[in-house]
Every structure is written in C-alpha cells, then in structure tokens.
C-alpha cells in the first residue's frame, strides 16, 4: 500500500504512532527518504493515530 513512500523503519513507526500519513511528507534524508525528523515536524491527523492501550 505504501509502495512508493520510502521511509526509514523508525519513521514508519513514528508516523503510525503520531497518526501522520507518510504520503503527505517530503523526505529530507539521503536520497529523499523520510526520516525521523520529517515525521516529528509533521502535523498529525492525516491518518488514524494509534489509541493508547
């Protein structure tokens, strides 16, 4: 599903936690990869955030 989005493993995890849609981000990592900092700077709400247990 996120076939075209290239993100680091941690970035994917953070995006899921924050409810950030990776599709909405531009990567600033090497070769345009989405990295931690990109997700941290993003606005949540584009995807369903994870409910705390």
């Amino acid at each position: 599903k996120d076939d075209r989005v290239i993100a680091s493993p941690l970035a994917k995890r953070l995006a899921a936690a924050k409810g950030v849609d990776l599709d909405s981000l531009t990567g600033s990592g090497p070769h345009g990869r989405i990295i931690k900092a990109d997700v941290e700077g993003a606005q949540p709400g584009t995807a369903k955030p994870k409910a705390a247990a």
Binding site: D3, R4, V5, I6, A7, S8, P9, K12, R13, L14, A16, A17, H31, R33, K50, A52, A53
Partner: protein
C-alpha cells in the same frame, strides 16, 4: 491495574514469549511468563535453532577434515569422531543459553511461573494448580512437530524420530531417510551426512525448500546432490515399518506409481510444525482458530478477545525465531501504549547448511505476479573472497521493480549467506533501490561484495563478470 496480579502474563518462554516478557518488564509493566518446559528459551534454544547450529558448526569442521578440504589447504589430518564430545558441546550450548534467559528474567524482574498454563477466563490463567490474573495475556505457545499420519515417532528408541530425536542420536546411522525437504530436514540431514550417514531426502513436492525462490531451490538441489545426498523429489511416503533397530520406508511417486522400499537405521520425520493450542483452554475465552489451527491477530497482535494477544509460531507467518522475537517486542510495546510494528515484508530466512541459503522479501515468482521486475545475479565463483576460501558454490540474486528499481527480494547461497542477508534486510527497510546498494562501499575482499555486484547487475553493469 491493582485488580490484577500482573500487567502482562506471557504463556510460553520461547523467543517470542521471553523477549516479549523482558521488553514488557523493561517498559515498567509487572510481568510473568509461564513455561511448562524445565528450561526457558522454547523450541528455539532447547531443541531448535541452537542445538541444530551446534551440531552443524561442529560437523562442518569434521567434514572439512574428513572430506579433503583441509588437505587441499595443506593440512594433513585423519579425523576421528567422538560423538559424545560433539553432543556434549551441543548440550553445553543449550544449557548456557537457556540459563542465560533465566538470568535475564531475574535481572528484568520477570516472574517465571513453572508449569503449563490454562485459561480460566480472559484475565485468569492457571499454572500448576495456582491461579494468576493479568490485565493482558500474551499467547506465545509456539509450535511442535506435525505428525505423519500412520507413522509413530519414538525419539527414545531412536529409529523413527522427529527433529528433537534427530539431535540426540548417540551413534551415526549408516542409512538415514529424511521425510521432508524443508529447512529442518536439510539441516539435520546435512549434520548426519557429514558425520558419515548415507542420507536420502524424500520430498512430496517437485523441489526442495518450498517457499524459497525457484532459482535458489534448484541450485540448492544441485549442491546437496553434489555433497552426496540422495534426493527423491515428487515422492511420497506411504508407510514406515519398524523392525527392531531398523526401518523400511515405502515411497512412491507423488502422483502415484510404483512403490519402492528404502532401508533406514534412522527415519527423520520433518514435514512441518503446527501451533501449540491443545490444553490452553481457548474455549474458556471463546477464541477460535483459523483453518490452519492458528490464532489470528490484528496488526497489533491483539486477538479477537479483549486483553488477549498472540505472537510467534502460534499465529500466521513464517515459523522463525526472529519473527517471534520481533513480535514479542512489538506486542510489549503495544501493550505499553507505544507503537509496536513488525514489517512482515522484511523477515529474512536462513538455511544453515554449507553453503548457507538465505533470502528476504519476495521470490522472483511472487515479484513477477506484482508486475515487471529486473533481476541481477552474480555467482560466488566470481567473488574473490569465496574463490580464495574455496567456496565456489552459490550466487546472489537481487530482484527489483522494473519501473522504480526498488528492491523487492534478495536471495543468497554462500558460505556466510546468513550474515550477508542482514545488509539486504537493512536496505529493504529503507526502501532501497538496486542502485542504492550498488553505490554503497563494500569492504574487499568480502562475500558481501557479491550483493553489490548482483545489485549492479540489475541495471546491467556488474564489474567482475
């Protein structure tokens, strides 16, 4: 919270369960782990990954000495096998490592509840007559050997055995028949072949190692044959008859045809593993199994029953220790309210024969079903380290999306393929293209350079071939 004895109670202390329990405790949750076995570590440490690798490693040296590889390097040897000592070091490895988990439980303050656990309700579990309550229960009961209908396993007798029995043999069989050409059969078959057994592998399908890339499966067959294994592919076992210390295995073509009888001193049944759910009391919590007898979960490893989670061999997916471990980490993090994810697209698999066989991601066949691919292949024969080390067998294969160049799968047959594959998994986690791998500096001379060359071959420009 105060209503429960524990925040988390894990059932089963295999790699899924013990890792999950430790991470839960690290995250500040009050944690217990129930284990029925005498020692911690599950299948993997007791009768799986570890003892098999102990015998594989030792028997590799025996074969190097016996088979002439050392002589070719200028070392004259006439090795003599002391199987007791070899088995002793296997046991030492197991007890050292299972004892290590016990130490880690103490260090991280995970309570080990000794005995088999049974659900009373979704938050209550009975272990050895005592009842414990927990806000979250994680089922990590793993798997055990799938029996072959009509064939009775007797590990104590040592004639018809499963993988556990095949690890414990006290003498090298003259003739060994391995039923099942998957990872476990090939690993244990290799151990005893190296130590002197005539090994015949019987596989129902038309090729070894189901689930792996077809190129890899074919090359593996060639290599195992060259090493002296007899392979009977597209063949089914119709009966096993034991007489005293010998067995007769009746086989016939999978599609039917003339039967043949194979004599054996030891028959290893290695046709697969199935989830451990008997006696767990799943009916008490209303949890149903899928058609394959597995527990289904969502992405967070939660089952349909609130507060009950499941990980490892007992849920769908490849039955691998590291898949179980990563699910253990993830479920603990999810229970703690963090985000635990396992990327099931990037789980490497390794066969610890010599050469090792490893892969991660899609097979070429599966990748082609998704769309057009480009494939780069590089033979180990052209890798300078492999050549220098007299390890000419195998290749590396990189499969990339034809349009985006994104790497979809990497397959290696090489002496250290299991170590090489870590780089491929790392690259795929970053959505690497083949060119990303090709333009990464690889130390010379290493087997890993073959990954670089195969990646260069995807776009048509390998150097050393």
């Amino acid at each position: 919270m105060a209503d429960y004895d524990y925040d988390v109670l894990v059932i089963g202390a295999g790699p899924g369960g013990y890792v999950g329990a430790i991470r839960a405790a690290q995250l500040g949750l009050k944690t217990a782990c129930a284990e029925g076995r005498e020692t911690l570590g599950g299948t993997c440490l007791n009768v799986g990954c570890i003892p098999s690798k102990a015998l594989l490693h030792a028997s590799e040296y025996f074969e190097a000495a016996k088979g002439g590889a050392m002589a070719k390097m200028g070392i004259k040897v006439t090795p003599e096998l002391d199987l007791d000592v070899m088995q002793g070091q296997r046991k030492d490895a197991v007890s050292g490592l299972t004892g290590g988990i016990e130490f880690l439980f103490k260090k991280n303050k995970v309570d080990w509840l000794k005995g088999y656990a049974q659900f009373k309700d979704a938050h209550t579990v009975e272990v050895a007559g005592k009842t414990y309550t927990a806000k979250n229960v994680v089922i990590a009961t793993g798997s055990s050997v799938t029996p072959l209908p009509g064939v009775e396993i007797d590990n104590a007798k040592g004639v018809v055995v499963d993988s556990t029995g095949a690890l414990e043999l006290s003498a090298v069989p003259k003739k060994m028949v391995v039923i099942g050409g998957g990872v476990i059969g090939l690993e244990l078959g290799s151990v005893w072949r190296r130590l002197g057994a005539e090994v015949t592998v019987v596989e129902f399908l038309d090729q070894l190692l189901p689930g792996m890339d077809m190129d890899v499966r074919k090359e593996a067959s060639k290599i195992f044959k060259k090493q002296g294994m007899t392979l009977k592919l597209s063949t089914k076992v119709t009966g096993v008859e034991v007489k005293g210390k010998k067995a007769k295995v009746t086989v016939e073509p999978s599609k039917g045809g003339d039967a043949e009888v194979l004599d054996a001193d030891v028959v290893l049944v290695a046709i697969g593993r199935r989830p451990n759910v008997d006696g767990l009391g799943l009916d008490k919590i209303g949890l149903e199994l899928n058609q394959r007898g597995q527990i289904e979960t969502d992405h967070d490893f939660a089952t349909k029953v609130d507060g009950v989670w499941a990980i490892g061999d007992v849920i769908p997916g490849p039955m691998l220790a590291h898949k179980a471990e990563d699910e253990g980490l993830a479920v603990a993090e999810n229970i703690a309210g963090l985000t635990g994810i396992v990327n099931h697209d990037v789980i490497p698999g390794v066969v610890y024969t010599q050469p090792e066989i490893a892969g991660v991601g899609l097979t070429e066949e599966a990748a082609k079903e998704r769309g057009a691919v480009k494939v780069g292949k590089f033979p180990m024969l052209a890798n300078s380290r492999a050549k220098t080390n007299h390890e000419p067998d195998g290749f590396v294969k990189v499969i990339a999306d034809a349009e985006t160049d994104r790497v979809l799968g990497v397959w290696c047959i090489a002496s250290v393929a299991g170590t090489m594959i870590a780089q491929a998994a790392q690259a795929m986690e970053f959505g690497a293209t083949s060119e990303d791998i090709a333009y990464t500096c690889h130390a010379h001379p290493t087997h890993s350079e073959a990954i670089k060359e195969a990646a260069m071959a995807v776009t048509g420009k390998p150097i050393h071939i």
